[in-house]
Symmetry: C2
């Protein structure tokens, strides 16, 4: 299991946890740390949140200010860390079921879009739901709904398919994150809620201080994806 990471000062942690609880599709919580502890005992024995990820993002007042490979220099005793489920887990399940994923075949980052769907606000946290998009043939889209629906800990079933304009995406060729991925004839664009949503909320809310993973540079845990299925 790989995970999205969000790190916040203790005084914002409860509101963020309420935000995640209210928005479980983009923000499925796998673990919450003790304040000041750089560990997730339930996710891995010798895990160190400060150094284990290959790339981080440091945010000040909602602005991305740094993308370091280590956050030891920015660590504080009041920081609470959140590990959130990631689509890499359901992608493993899709590939095992022979549902082809073009962005993986091409070695590209999955295209992600800010949508017109708003998250449920909690305290200062609000903003658009961010989605990832995978182009699939109709029968594969149906299988993908069934397979990912059994995996609510890693975003669950898609939240939309077929009509990008209905969720405020004007141009599939211009993702807000990741790489563009053209649809082939007879394919449907299928959209899943995405763990980059908290980063959009941190930016929208102008949160004074936060650290996240950099998109695509995830926390690798000791859990197996197969353990997540309900």
């Amino acid at each position: 299991v790989q995970a999205n990471l969000v790190i916040l000062p203790r005084d914002l942690a409860h509101d963020f946890l309420r935000f995640a609880q209210a928005n479980p599709r983009p923000c499925p919580v796998l673990a919450v740390s003790e304040a000041g502890s750089p560990q997730f005992p339930s996710l891995g024995e010798d895990l160190d949140i400060r150094t284990d990820l290959p790339r981080y993002r440091i945010w000040r007042h909602g602005e991305l200010v740094e993308e370091p490979h280590d956050i030891s220099h920015a660590w504080r005793s009041d920081l609470v860390s959140f590990a959130l489920g990631c689509s890499f887990s359901f992608e493993e399940a899709l590939l095992q079921a022979d549902v082809p994923l073009r962005h993986i075949a091409r070695g590209l980052g999955v295209p992600m879009y800010r949508t017109s769907i708003q998250t449920q606000r909690a305290g200062r946290f609000h903003g658009p739901v961010v989605v990832s998009m995978r182009p699939l043939k109709p029968a594969d889209a149906i299988r993908a709904v069934q397979i990912t629906g059994r995996l609510p800990a890693v975003h669950g079933a898609p939240i939309h398919l077929g009509y990008p304009e209905q969720i405020g995406i004007a141009d599939l060729a211009k993702p807000d994150y990741g790489h563009a991925l053209p649809l082939e004839p007879g394919e449907l664009p299928v959209f899943w809620a995405c763990g980059v949503t908290p980063q959009a909320a941190i930016a929208a809310a102008g949160i004074p201080f936060a650290i996240t993973h950099a998109p695509g540079y995830m926390l690798v845990t000791d859990l197996k994806n197969a353990q997540l299925a309900v």
Copy 2:
């Protein structure tokens, strides 16, 4: 639980059961009778297959020859009856989940189409998969895949959505059975395998003698739909 009905002479019964086993999406078997017995003990205590349905179809050499309200006159001691799952069951589950079904709201029969998808042949039985179509908004289509996916005894998840031409349907306005149902803007046509498929096989194979329900005039059993979920 309501059910599709297929009645065949004993010498065709094994091939039909193989056909159903090989094509579980259109032909999910709920019960098979003893030869000559007009009962399904597992589906209802005082059920009589010869009189309980409101309308039947009698087929000779693949041709529909009669649509009686009672088949006592055509009953034979070598007849084997098959009860097959029906979409009426999953429609109850969809309505309980607030997934709107336009054909029900309008009091129409669901539109059904012969497709270019072929069933797996077994003995003499072969022919096209027949599908039913329900127009749904994308988020409802996703919910419908999840809900009906848990109900394999009554056709399970859709087999297609979005592009009718990919499964050989040239014109949605011209169903082969039932009533036409126009799509509204932003809706997707969602297609489920249909229990009328055996009737298409009986016609395609020119089966010498068969009795079925008339489309929409089902066997009503003592089971509850909620018992079917996996």
